[in-house]
């Protein structure tokens, strides 16, 4: 049965690999966070200031990533752009968490009309393309930093609500919840003290992937020109770069690499957590 032992060895190797995914992701994401937080310390030109250097210069000593069409330093814009992406990603997901949890909990714990009504709304909103909807919202209500955060939050909450509701439905039936009711725990305590903590392992990876999605949406919006011009944004940079692809490749390459890195890090972390948390639950 040599195939069996071979397969066992491979499985073991992949188990360790899975854990390393979480570590790798964590490292990348931490690096990104550090960059975002310490942006001012890492740059020496203010990002949006024009003509700090001759426009369209390729990477050189003074400007490691080169300069763009208005003479802005691309390196500082990239660093601050990372900060923007992270801020928008986290803030919008926060909005989604607040709304989504509220609705998910209400729909999952209290059955009946409330549940049906809320779930109808959620399901319908889910089918709509997130990106397009966010685009339209920002385009109409004004291209500002806050609007973008709100718009992304609005398109993100239904997915979370659905997940939380599903978790609630399954956890609610478990015997320890019944036991909690038998002791006389009030509903609010049951929801937040008993059910929610047990829903977290399933919810956290999803949240991480949502942050990912939010960052990508913001970048996409920026790329189409729908962004706040007063805020450094990786997407907007790519938008500007588009016109000068033939001559100034550095305008596109560096922002994109950083963006991809953020996404890779979050993907690693999210995926790794999904697999890490599941077998652990199975072990019990």
């Amino acid at each position: 049965m040599s195939t069996n032992t071979n397969q066992k060895k491979k499985v073991k190797r992949s188990r360790i690999l899975l854990n390393s995914r979480v570590y790798a992701g964590l490292i990348i994401v931490s690096a990104v966070v550090v960059i975002a937080v310490f942006a001012p310390l890492l740059t020496w030109f203010p990002p949006l200031k024009t003509l700090v250097g001759k426009p369209f210069t390729p990477p050189n000593e003074g400007h490691p990533f080169g300069t763009d069409d208005l003479g802005r330093d691309i390196y500082s814009n990239v660093i601050y752009g990372i900060r923007t992406s992270l801020t928008i990603g986290l803030s919008s997901v926060l909005i989604a968490i607040v709304i989504g949890t509220l609705i998910g909990v209400l729909a999952g714990y209290y059955r009946g009309f409330l549940e049906d009504f809320l779930m109808r709304i959620t399901d319908m909103t889910l089918i709509l393309p997130q990106f397009l909807l966010a685009l339209v919202i920002v385009a109409i209500f004004g291209q500002s930093f806050t609007n973008i955060i709100i718009a992304i939050g609005i398109v993100s909450w239904p997915g979370l609500a659905r997940l939380i509701r599903a978790e609630f439905l399954s956890i609610k039936e478990r015997q320890f919840v019944e036991a909690a009711r038998a002791i006389g725990l009030p509903d609010s305590r049951i929801i937040f003290g008993e059910i929610l903590p047990n829903a977290i392992p399933a919810v956290i990876p999803y949240i991480i992937l949502q942050v990912n999605s939010a960052i990508l949406i913001e970048a996409g919006l920026g790329f189409l020109g729908v962004g706040d011009p007063n805020v450094p944004s990786l997407g907007l940079m790519l938008n500007t770069a588009q016109q000068y692809l033939l001559t100034s490749w550095w305008m596109a390459v560096y922002p994109g690499i950083m963006l991809s890195m953020i996404v890779v890090g979050l993907n690693l972390l999210g995926d790794g957590l999904v697999e890490y948390l599941n077998p652990r639950l199975r072990k019990r």
């Binding site: 397969q7 491979k10 690999l17 319908m124 909103t125 089918i127 709509l128 393309p129 990106f131 397009l132 909807l133 685009l135 339209v136 919202i137 385009a139 109409i140 209500f141 004004g142 990508l216 970048a219 996409g220 790329f223 189409l224 020109g225 729908v226 790519l238 770069a241 588009q242 692809l245 033939l246 490749w249 596109a252 390459v253 922002p255 994109g256 963006l259 991809s260 996404v263 890779v264 993907n267 690693l268």
Partner: protein, 322 residues
Amino acid sequence: MSQALNFIVKRLIQYIPMIFVVIVINFMLINLAPGDPTYILAGEIGDEEFIKATRSRLGLDRPIHERLLIYISNVLRGDLGYSYLRSEQVSKLILDRIPATIFLVLSAMALSAAVGILIGTVAAARRGTLDVTLSILSLIGISIPYFWLGQIILIVFAVYLGLFPLGGMVTVGAGYKGFDYVLDVLRHMVLPVLTLATFNIAYTTKITRASVLESLTQDYIVTARAKGLSERRVVFVHALRNALIPVVTYTGFNTGVLLVGAILTETVFAWPGMGSLLYDSIKLRDYPVVLGIFIYGSIIIIIANLIVDILYGLIDPRIRVR
């Protein structure tokens, strides 16, 4: 047979309201926006006459519930407004562009399905370094944003290597006909489709690999091997057939994401589809078109999901019970 019909009807009933939801959301957006909704619908530039005409055509002086009904009936009739900037009916503008986009999407879907399934199966069958490399590659593949990838591919293949044209669907002014025309389009198509397909290939590979891996641990595979079938047959014929189900599900329902991706990719390559139209309209502040693309885009996605859902239900009888 009636059970299948029953299922189709049930699905239609589920999906059609969503189209209404899209329209209603659009309506809400128009009216909640700051400023006079007329400007949104007429575009920001328009002379006095045009604005007055728009106002009366859309009944903007009437109470809100009447306006909603007028709006819905307009949309359903295909009237999405008029773009003053381009002197065209919005719907005509969009409908002209849709085929190009769908062409891209379908090509990318086909390519990614074929390649992804193949690679994923191979990766699952032979573990080891090949597998690890592929995993890393597919991780990178799903992480790179469409638009940036497009730019990089454009830079590398078109600018530096000069292998492919820089953009557009046809070489302007060349006047190719017949077979030459087809070849020309194909040449222009390669880079955009490649860009679009990358994410999907990576994701399809990932899913196929996971799915085939799981099938391979099943008992019937051990039986097949015991019967003495060649490894290749075992993997490709037996394991793959069952593993395909989640893959097909994913591919089908992912059309929406692909459509959005197409919109972004088109901008990079100036491919004359809905995406470039959207990009241009945003720049020109031609709101009626932007909103129109939102509606049509959403409707296309909804219909695509509906078709996949129905096809899926017809193929796999277990689903119909829902």
